[in-house]
């Protein structure tokens, strides 16, 4: 979101899912949507079955890559190298969209100069992707009538995640593949309401409606409505909170629906810090690993079926969630809990119902103004921005960039000069294997929710290795081995995966109680997004027999 906001002024994917069906070229970059966003991938497959070309950029030949016309198996952490090489090829082949660049962007000259050294040969040498594959993708993307560039955590879970996103935005600006039907930039959000959470201001630098905390005019609106004084400085994101815990500055914590004791990179550190707070309160629906550390646990509601409200998905669509069952036992609606806390803290927030809260939000957030509950119900959900109750915006963003009249185009979208940087932790003799982490189809994040149903395909955690590495290490499929990094070690059975190249191993964090993979990962964070480099750690694998006795 940081990258998209910096480039276009709005922190959201530019296109609706239906537009993927209209694209003739689709690039899935750092996304295994077949497993992680299966129903979005249905829209991609509809396009593919209609003749669209699919390119998949991923170090692993993943389930998604199997559907691709071309799989580009780049080295972990070389996305900017690849993107800059693609850009240079597009420019040199005369395929850059000159008219769009001129009318809608800024900073092209500097950008073009910065990618000049990224010849196809250099790109191949750094990324490991054959030059002719890079060239094919470049030409296909630039020449497409409408192209979708989709990404997710493969791009953002790096120490330079924001730069990675900017490098993709650059490609869209270079080719005019944004701001019109079917062409766009689609970040696939990981959780059902991470988009909505950010839109509602659950970010340290944003007020609801994606308005800046530091924007005096915006803040004044909230001060007035809430009869309070909103602090004029940005707060801390999650990683900064952990740093503040380490400094002793953050002493008490309320955690709502997040499980950092199992989801954080370098998780031992996270557990130490959480355990040593003066007061830790956890609001959740299950006794997670984090809840186990808490002084007080507040049992909340599974809001998607036990509460009434809204959530926002990856195509910016706000949809109603509705209460179908009652929370069990003493669990209470999250909103009730928050109102009760507020009252104890001396603020009597009196809302008749949840709809009234939403109406207050609409009065303060222009991009949500036109979507009262009745209209969301009538239309089955509405994409933001929606400025009034009798208008709807196009399903894609940034159409202004194509406006005939320069006065209507708004701020030109800037190219960003981004520098290729390898992952923070290099592989070396002691830890010679690159560990990258991700997800599987049947499980979800730390496995708290998805562990509740029995899937025949769920086999527990494994360390996925290439056939070559298995042979070199002398390990067999199913054999339990020790995987260690500078930060910790875990044991897991081997699973041989032909989609992995030698030197690359893969694990998930779905089974932290059995195999706590985040003991291995590194908390190297992009300071702008606060996201850690889950995608690149250095590990070694040892046979258990070899290390005992």
């Amino acid at each position: 979101m940081v990258g998209l906001a910096a480039t276009f002024g709005a922190g959201g994917g530019t296109s609706s899912y239906a537009e993927a069906e209209a694209a003739d070229v689709i690039i899935m970059w750092g996304s295994n949507a077949r497993n992680a966003h299966p129903i979005f991938f249905h829209h991609v497959l509809t396009a593919v079955n209609n003749g669209a070309r699919l390119f998949v950029v991923d170090p692993r030949r993943s389930e998604t890559a199997r559907f691709a016309d071309r799989w580009l198996g780049l080295e972990v952490g070389t996305d900017i190298a690849l993107s800059n090489t693609i850009a240079r090829e597009i420019i040199h082949a005369g395929l850059a969209h000159r008219d769009f660049i001129e009318r809608a962007t800024s900073g092209f000259e500097e950008y073009a100069a910065s990618v000049e050294e990224w010849t196809l040969e250099r790109g191949e040498a750094v990324t490991g992707v054959p030059a002719e594959a890079i060239k094919e993708l470049a030409h296909a993307y630039a020449g497409a009538r409408a192209a979708q560039l989709c990404w997710t955590l493969g791009i953002t879970e790096h120490h330079n995640g924001v730069d990675n996103v900017l490098s993709l935005c650059n490609l869209a600006l270079l080719t005019g593949q944004v701001g019109r039907f079917g062409a766009g930039l689609t970040p696939l959000r990981g959780q059902n309401n991470v988009q909505g959470g950010g839109d509602m201001g659950a970010l340290p630098n944003k007020l609801p409606g994606f308005q800046d905390v530091t924007d005096d005019v915006a803040r004044a609106k909230f001060d007035t409505r809430w009869s309070a004084t909103v602090p004029p400085e940005n707060g801390w994101h999650l990683t900064q909170m952990f740093d503040a815990m380490e400094r002793g500055e953050l002493t008490s914590l309320l955690v709502i629906g997040e499980n950092p004791a199992q989801s954080e990179a370098d998780v031992s550190r996270a557990i130490d810090l959480l355990s040593s707070r003066d007061h830790l309160v956890v609001l959740d629906i299950h006794m997670t690993g984090t809840a186990e550390l808490a002084d007080v646990v507040l049992p909340g509601s599974a809001s998607w079926c036990e509460s009434d409200g809204t959530v926002t998905n990856s195509e910016r669509r706000v949809q109603r969630v509705r209460k179908a069952i009652n929370p069990p036992g003493e669990a209470r609606d999250d909103i009730d809990i928050l109102l009760a806390l507020a009252a104890r803290l001396g603020h009597d927030w009196n809302y008749r119902d949840h709809e009234e809260i939403w109406d207050e939000l609409r009065s303060l957030s222009p991009m949500h103004a036109g979507m009262p509950w009745w209209r969301l119900e009538e239309l089955g959900g509405i994409q933001w921005p929606c400025y009034s109750e009798d208008t709807l915006e196009p399903p894609y963003l940034h159409g202004r960039l194509w406006a005939e009249d320069p006065a209507d185009r708004g701020r030109p979208a800037p190219f960003a000069v981004v520098i290729d940087e390898p992952p923070v932790e290099a592989v070396d003799e002691e830890f010679p294997l690159r560990l990258t982490t991700g997800r599987r189809l049947d499980s979800y994040n730390t496995g708290v929710q998805s562990g509740g149903f029995s899937s025949p395909n769920r086999a527990g955690e494994t360390v996925d290795v290439s056939p070559g590495d298995a042979s070199r290490l002398g390990v067999a499929d199913g054999e339990v081995v020790r995987v260690s990094s500078r930060r910790g070690a875990v044991e897991a059975p081997v699973r041989i995966d032909r989609g992995l190249r030698d030197g690359l191993v893969f694990m998930t964090f779905h089974f932290p109680d059995e195999v706590d993979v985040n003991q291995l990962t590194i908390d190297a964070v992009d300071p702008r997004s606060g996201t850690a480099e889950f995608k690149a750690a250095a590990v070694r694998i040892d046979r258990i027999a070899a290390t005992t006795g």
Binding site: S450, G452, N457
Partner: protein
Amino acid sequence: MTAIDDTRPEIATVEAMIDGVTVRVAEGTTILDACGGRGCGIPTLCYGETITPRNACRVCMVEVEGSRTLVPSCSRPVTEGMVVTTRSERIDHSRRMVLEFLGSSVDLSLTDHVEEWNAEYGADPTRYGPEAARVDEPVRIDNDLYVRDYSKCILCYQCVDACGEQWQNSFVIDIAGRGFDARVSTEHDVALPDSGCVYCGNCIQVCPTGALMFTSEYDMRQAGTWDEARQTQVDTVCGYCGVGCNLRLHVQDDSIVKVTSPPDSGITSGNLCVKGRFGFQHAQNRPTAD
């Protein structure tokens, strides 16, 4: 340089006559849709809202002037000047026979509308006698998520197509065997856990006869506790990934008993993944203080 190109090509229309009434519809509209779609009075079985039909059941047949045989209304597009009749002795006879053929060979007890159609067309599936060959397959329970009862299967192909190119692209099932011995099958008829099935449940949702059924529903029906009259349906959004699929929760006695997705959802078209389909269970397994 043009700006945003949102123009869609103009859609051509055709004029035809249906039951003596002139209609004008968009080119490519099927006869069934021209008559009002599913529920317009023409019976359908292998026609699903989200599946392009194989027109295999042959219950939706109508007469088209100039055609030697009857024509499947679910699949035949209306053409300029076409003359269609939707009820006649020949049509009614054919519908009655299809209902009798199916009713005498498989278990249609859970198929919607069959009772009323049998009455409307005078279909008597018992007229083939007790010795009439039936599809008698044992119920297959080889996983915890859903049950296959092929003695209810009418071979409408919707599950095959939902699993195949039309939606899921997993291609786990297809029709094996031929003639009366044809059955929906995994490769080499292996158990589901040994197949490529990803338990998305998209096949279950499109099955018109209950041959494919969620284990939660199956167990309750076996126990005699399944009661659709006491169920409500609540539409909400899945709690897992960021796609934001629409879920239709079927609730009985304050408990979610199964999950479908609205077929007209622009996001899902009635499809879900294993987490959306079956991942609700954790919400109901939270222990209360004791």
